[in-house]
């Protein structure tokens, strides 16, 4: 019993360790008013997230099972609304009231996991119709998000779907057949991509071709990381990020700030903390006996993993630039709040499974 409580709290403590590191990086990113404001705003978001966590951790996760369908429908409508009234460079933002804007797809990630968990926990994924039904369930929002256009998040959803279907017991044969079909029609998808999305993929393949154009972000982030070396340039002493050579260093490229200022040692320590954090979630996915809870925690595990992997992979140049935030670190209210909700659900599952 004591061990279990310890296990629930570990995930919370780890979350806050990551948040504190993130805030230090936000503060140290550059010495400008902008940075200081972002730092303060991020603190406000963390406080808001904490309040949400304090409420939601006591909210029985089984209620989510009942809520998942209405939420799913609500968010599908919301995604459609974003396509009509959304704004921003890509239509990802929706204006609520006053200064609050939010990105519905961040929250939809949770709903997506909940609806799939509910669907696969009540039916046998081994059957082809069930599997195909899941594809439709997942395909509708994935398509809407692709139209926003947000290619990165759309791919994220597709991977989450296949992983959850796999965990739920879908036949490998079915999964591979569908993937094969996807590969075959991908040339047509390429035609459907927006120009900037194609450019990003091309740049990813050959960043040196145009070092001052689209390849710039990628090259600059690699320079920032590479010049950090083993020990780093020291906190708040990075030239690349401090001088703002790197765009979006508060959001997509925040990991470069860490790499440049704390070097490889810092990177390893931070990645290991993240791994520890992921393994706590994995442990909960093993321990819980409820299929729904198992699928939800696996989904959240995969979601966190993908966000971490894509963001760091993108910064270090092994993945294309995709605009995926680093959980609890990248600046942004929607991302922070959504991550806190995910942690609340995990916490509640962990607490309830301890009672079995």
């Amino acid at each position: 019993m004591i061990k279990k409580i310890y296990s629930e709290n570990t995930i919370v403590w780890l979350t806050y360790i990551i948040i504190v590191i993130g805030l230090l990086l936000q503060f140290g990113a550059s010495n400008t008013v902008e940075t200081h404001q972002i730092f303060l705003k991020q603190i406000v978001w963390v406080i808001a997230g904490t309040i949400i966590f304090l409420f939601l951790r006591k909210f029985d996760y089984r209620n989510w099972q009942k809520l998942s369908l209405p939420l799913y429908i609500f968010f599908i409508l919301l995604l459609m609304a974003v396509l009509v009234i959304g704004y921003g460079p890509a239509k990802r933002w929706i204006h609520i009231a006053g200064p609050i804007d939010f990105q519905p797809s961040e929250f939809f990630k949770i709903v997506f996991i909940l609806i799939l968990a509910k669907y696969f926990s009540s039916k046998s994924a081994e059957k082809l119709p069930v599997f195909l039904g899941g594809i439709i369930l997942a395909g509708i929002p994935a398509f809407l998000i692709l139209k926003e256009p947000n290619l990165g998040t759309c791919l994220l959803f597709i991977i989450i779907f296949f992983s959850l279907a796999y965990i739920a017991g879908a036949k490998k044969k079915h999964i591979f057949t569908i993937l094969l079909i996807a590969v075959l029609i991908s040339p047509f998808l390429w035609m459907g991509l927006k120009k900037y999305q194609r450019e990003r993929l091309v740049v990813f393949l050959a960043p040196w071709k145009n070092p001052l154009g689209m390849g710039y972000n990628l090259l600059q982030s690699k320079i920032a990381i590479g010049s950090g070396g083993l020990l780093g340039t020291g906190y708040m002493k990075g030239t690349q990020t401090e001088l703002s050579f790197l765009p979006a260093y508060h959001t997509d490229f925040i990991f470069c700030v860490l790499s440049e200022q704390f070097g490889l040692i810092g990177v390893i320590v931070f990645i290991l903390i993240y791994l520890w954090f992921l393994e706590r979630i994995a442990k909960i996915a093993f321990t819980t006996q409820d299929n729904f809870a198992k699928l939800v925690s696996s989904g959240i595990l995969i979601l966190f993993f993908l966000q971490i992997f894509i963001n760091i992979g993108m910064a270090s140049g092994i993945l294309p630039v995709a605009g995926i935030p680093l959980p609890f670190v990248s600046y942004g209210g929607s991302s922070i709040l959504a991550s806190f909700i995910e942690i609340s659900i995990i916490y509640n599952i962990s607490r309830n499974s301890a009672l079995f």
């Binding site: 590479g226 393994e279 696996s298």
Partner: protein, 611 residues
């Protein structure tokens, strides 16, 4: 299910640990490579711009030239709080807070796109901005190329100005290698010859910002500057002409070589200041439109200057002989209306030599009736009325010539004296005078003599173009030149205020009404002349909007010609209107009407309370 979770979890652990390998590669193996890149170039490349071609006058004196300056630029992508930054910046650079907010609030998706906020900032501004740099993210000081116009306002309409290319222009000039933010010629010669002046955007100047404070040019790649223009314009005459308009709000002056159509000076007022163009680009204009080049785009009734054409038509087609006299009372009845001479005086029977210098309206009205409107308009067309001259400047107007089927005699009379629906640009008037000066040749006016590449190769050379020749007999030319000379030489001539001792000037005044006479609106005064009479080297047209009489235009022309041809006398002798009045008062005329005319002019000038 557990197994499958386990499988996925193992995969996660491997991938996450694998990420570390990537960082080992970047931060250990490639460390020296990337840290060198970071130190060496801190890649921030900015295109400073390609120097535009220079513009020189006929004596190779500079009229427009690029020079390096520090500009204040901003990157819309990095400006998150325009209000706050505008508040700090506005007292430093002296721009209105609200204007700044508007400018800084622009958005762009390209993080490296920069726009110019203020050109050529001073050292004091620079140090202040550096001081507040912490509060001004997205604002930078950047080395740039600015354009210098040594004559400033005096050459505004002639040379034009350069400005950022608009989206519309980008679409129009697709394929010329232009990108947003480039500067192109927007007016005058800068616009007309932009493709030569612009240079080729084939290279970048690479600029390095090592510590984010000082900008240093480390490395230049190949740049091909624009071609240089050599003009027919004389810089000193251009300046003299602009200064001569001092005190007049609106006016225009053009000087041309009548023997080949080379433009020597072209001035229009009000003018814009090409160094501070933003201020002028916002209508409404308080003093007329500075972007209207009155020399080529202003269309006005030529008034009495048209009498040159009426006289030519009459003499050439035999409607009047050299010594034929016409009865000229103060008024005549035409149809149902009374037609007045400008000067209410009964002169009796006079010939053209008497009528022309004092610009008698009755004489030319009666002559015009004899010639007939159709024939008269035919001659007007030969003199180029109603057709653009073809000068190499954008926006030339063609003036207006009425169609042949005009019925009433009154219209015939009006056209004979250059009123009514006839409209000419000052440049067309200069062409009209040139025809008399050179004996019938119609030259196409032009400004650019040659285009020379930066390495000195002649790209293009422009030669005079003879458009056509108007046949005018020597006898008629002789009469016209004699009478035109007397316009200026006779103290009772309408252009006597242009008289310059030692210079033989042949000219004609034209005073046009801007509305019905009883409204007592200000008049428009013009004076067109050439000199020296026997071997003309210059045709000069002075045009004044809202002048009480052409007398003042003639005075300005005389002043310009004196300063240009006889600079030593111009500086020593005092020749203001008062001495002119004195000369007129002392004049004892040979013929009985001259005294009367002189007195009327004096009275008129005194009534206007002009010095």
């Amino acid at each position: 299910m557990e197994n499958r979770i386990k499988f996925i979890n193992t995969f996660i652990i491997i991938v996450i640990l694998g990420l570390i390998l990537r960082f080992v590669y970047l931060q250990i193996i490639k460390y020296s490579f990337y840290s060198n890149l970071a130190k060496k170039n801190a890649i921030r490349t900015i295109q400073i711009g390609i120097p535009r071609g220079e513009i020189f006058d006929r004596n190779s004196r500079v009229l427009a030239k690029d020079h390096a300056d520090f500009n204040l630029v901003f990157s819309p992508y990095n400006i998150k709080n325009p209000q706050r930054e505008a508040k700090i910046l506005s007292p430093i650079i002296g721009m209105k807070d609200s204007d700044l907010v508007k400018i800084l609030s622009q958005t762009t998706e390209n993080p490296f796109y920069r726009k110019i906020l203020k050109l050529n900032i001073s050292k004091a501004e620079m140090s202040k901005i550096e001081e507040y740099a912490y509060y001004l993210p997205g604002i930078y000081i950047q080395l740039g190329i600015n354009r210098d116009y040594p004559l400033g306002k005096a050459s505004a309409q002639l040379l034009g100005y350069t400005g950022e290319v608009s989206q519309q222009q980008l679409d129009q000039m697709a394929g010329q290698g232009l990108k947003p933010g480039d500067y192109i010629g927007q007016y005058g010669l800068e616009e007309e010859y932009n493709q030569y002046l612009m240079g080729k955007p084939e290279g970048y100047e690479v600029e390095v910002n090592a510590l984010g404070q000082q900008i240093q040019v480390l490395h230049k790649t190949k740049i091909i500057p624009g071609d240089n223009l050599y003009l027919t314009v004389d810089k000193s005459l251009q300046k003299i002409c602009y200064n001569a308009l001092k005190g007049w709000k609106e006016g225009a002056i053009v000087a041309m070589n009548p023997n080949n159509g080379q433009i020597l000076a072209l001035v229009s007022k009000p003018a814009f200041n090409p160094d501070d163009i933003a201020k002028y680009l916002q209508p409404p204009y308080s003093n007329g439109n500075p972007f209207l080049d009155r020399v080529i785009s202003g269309q006005f009734p030529p008034a009495s200057i048209f009498k040159i054409i009426t006289a030519t038509a009459g003499l050439e087609d035999g409607y009047i002989g050299e010594h034929d006299k016409i009865n000229c009372p103060a008024t005549i009845k035409i149809g149902n209306s009374i037609f007045h001479n400008w000067d209410p005086i009964n002169l009796g029977w006079i010939d053209i030599d008497t009528a022309f210098p004092i610009s008698n309206d009755i004489f030319f009205a009666k002559l015009g009736l004899r010639i007939g409107i159709k024939n008269l308009l035919g001659w007007a067309k030969l003199f180029g009325v109603g057709s653009p001259t073809g000068i190499d400047l954008p926006g030339e107007a063609s003036g207006h010539i009425p169609s042949n089927n005009y019925g009433p005699e009154r219209e015939n009379v009006n056209i004979s004296i250059g009123q009514g629906s006839i409209l000419m640009t000052p440049l067309q008037i200069a062409r009209e005078l040139s025809i008399v000066a050179n004996g019938g040749q119609v030259w196409q006016p032009y400004i650019v003599k040659k285009i020379v590449s930066p390495d000195g190769r002649n790209i293009q050379r422009f030669y005079p173009v003879l458009q056509r020749t108007v046949f005018i007999s020597n006898r008629t030319l002789e009469i016209l030149r004699r009478d035109l000379t007397n316009v200026v030489a006779w103290p009772n001539g309408t252009g006597y205020s242009a008289y310059v001792p030692g210079l033989q000037i042949a000219g004609k005044t034209g005073t046009a009404e801007t509305g019905p006479r009883h409204l007592n609106l200000p008049l428009r005064g013009a004076f067109a002349c050439f000199t020296p009479v026997n071997h003309p080297s210059i045709v000069l047209v002075v045009y004044l909007d809202y002048a009480p009489s052409s007398w003042f235009a003639a005075g300005i022309a005389g002043k310009i010609l004196k300063e240009y041809f006889l600079p030593s006398i111009a500086n020593s002798q005092n020749t203001n209107s008062e001495t002119k009045i004195k000369q007129l008062e002392e004049y004892n005329p040979n013929n009985p009407y001259a005294k009367n005319t002189a007195e009327r002019i004096i009275k008129r000038m005194k009534n206007k309370n002009l010095k």
